[in-house]
Amino acid sequence: MSVLPSYAVGVGRWTASDSLRAIPLLPRNAALGLLHGYRATISHTYGDVCKYYPSCTAYSVAAVQQYGAVVGSAMTAARLARCHPWAKGGVDDVPLRENFRHDITPQGFVVPGSTGKD
């Protein structure tokens, strides 16, 4: 299993006062929970199979963080389709959003970004 790229982990911290703003982030965090769970368990039984860096699961984590559960899943599907036996492989990063408003925690979950007021 490959290591997460540096843009998929951050120093963001969860604050309870942000609960309301975190509601729209629930779907992607639920998806991230599944992905991190998969990466910690089943992924190991396959060993290293991915032809790319970041690996397909790591790519999926970053894509869901950046674009949400729906678009992220679609991007993951596209990536998996690219990871076929005749592919060349190599480095294939998630295009980062320029206006990414959220923060990423060290565990790789997404929390509302700091508003700048506090």
Partner: protein, 369 residues
């Protein structure tokens, strides 16, 4: 499990006329699974096995495993060829590994992965097989599960499957009993409810064997086929824990899946085990214990692996090594010797000395640059 119950509930509603997405996606696969099953069944019947016997249908399921796994052999061969090519880039790969030796922080590991992957791409080779084949197997398994699951419903309704598994064959499959007692559509729960001791014994035995084969396959990989670099770090620790935990997932499959599916899975596991055994024996990960064992085995037979990864006789190997050493020496000799920079004054003095017999590389020869 959620997905499976979803799939089975989706197939149940398919009769109601509503749009059934999973059923539609699986339809071609189900058709193929039925085709393969019926084809094998026809073959076994043709060579004299009783058509309605459970064993004939079990062998058809084994045949299905053979077809599915054989279809993936070209991918496997590709991987082997790629592995051979890996030997050629080994020196460059080692350079990258040396660069990040002992660095366990995330950024170094990321940089190392990036460089390694870029290197693979540059040389058009990679030791890994890609992710898609792993996923492709899942719908096949799903389709089989769905076909075998439907048999009960279709047989009771008196209809056939989606393709060649017609009403008659469906009924035959439904009535087929392994060893005359265990129905292929029965799960462990069914067997316990009906108090069918033989079926319980068969299912429990299969589950235990499945756990054992999965464990053994993983153990082989972890204990023999990992390079020393892969044996450090958290991922390896996790892999070791998973070795003991994951096989027990099969307990669930044994309880909830019908006997036909369990048999498919078990035979498929055996195939994986055999394939893995071959890989570890014949094309182990460079640097792993298995690779050392292979070199020793070859040395005992008077053979060795040359620089391109081919097995050659010991004489050829030594000749090649000799040639490589000579080439390296020649390259070294051809390289211009580095001259210690000297000041203008000193250069002038040395030039004067050169004319004398004892001139030459006085201090510059020993100086470490």
């Amino acid at each position: 499990m959620d997905l499976l119950s979803f799939a089975s509930s989706a197939t149940e509603t398919s009769g109601g006329g509503g749009f059934d997405l999973i059923g539609t996606i699986l339809w071609p696969l189900k058709w193929l699974v039925e085709l393969v099953l019926v084809a094998w069944h026809w073959l076994f019947t043709a060579i004299g096995l009783p058509a309605a016997e459970g064993l004939t249908w079990v062998l058809s399921i084994v045949g299905l495993v053979i077809v599915v796994r054989s279809a993936m052999i070209p991918l496997f061969v590709r991987q082997i060829k790629s592995q051979r090519k890996m030997m050629e880039i080994a020196p460059e790969l080692r350079k990258v590994q040396e660069k990040y030796k002992g660095k366990r922080d995330q950024l170094s590991r990321e940089a190392m992965s990036r460089e390694t992957m870029a290197l693979y791409k540059k040389h058009g080779t990679t030791p890994v097989s890609s992710c898609l084949p792993l996923l492709v197997q899942m719908p096949v398994f799903f389709a089989l599960f769905s076909v075998l699951n439907d048999v009960t419903r279709h047989a009771q309704a008196g209809i056939g499957g989606v393709g060649l598994l017609n009403a008659e064959l469906t009924q035959e499959f439904y009535d087929a009993k392994l060893f005359g007692v265990a129905s292929l559509h029965e799960t462990l729960i069914d067997a316990i409810n009906s108090g069918n001791t033989t079926a319980i014994i068969i299912l429990v035995t299969l589950v235990v064997l499945m756990i054992a084969s999965q464990f053994f396959t993983q153990l082989q990989i972890i204990s023999k086929n990992l390079s020393p670099e892969a044996k450090t770090g958290q991922a390896y620790q996790m892999q070791k824990i998973m070795l003991y935990v994951l096989p027990f997932a099969f307990v669930f499959s044994g309880v909830f899946f019908p006997l036909g599916v369990v048999i498919y899975w078990f035979v498929s596991n055996l195939w994986t085990m055999g394939q893995q055994f071959l890989v570890i024996r014949e094309m182990p990960t460079p640097g792993s214990d298995a690779a050392k064992a292979r070199e020793e085995r070859l040395a005992r037979k008077g053979k060795a692996i040359d620089s391109s990864g081919k097995v050659v006789s010991m004489e050829k190997y030594q000749a090649e090594q000799q040639r490589l050493v000579e080439e390296a020496e020649r390259a070294k000799a051809a390289q211009p010797k580095r001259q210690q920079p000297v000041g203008k004054q000193r250069a002038k003095k040395q030039a004067q000395k050169q004319s004398g017999p004892s001139g030459g590389n006085g201090p510059s020869g020993n100086a470490k640059s």
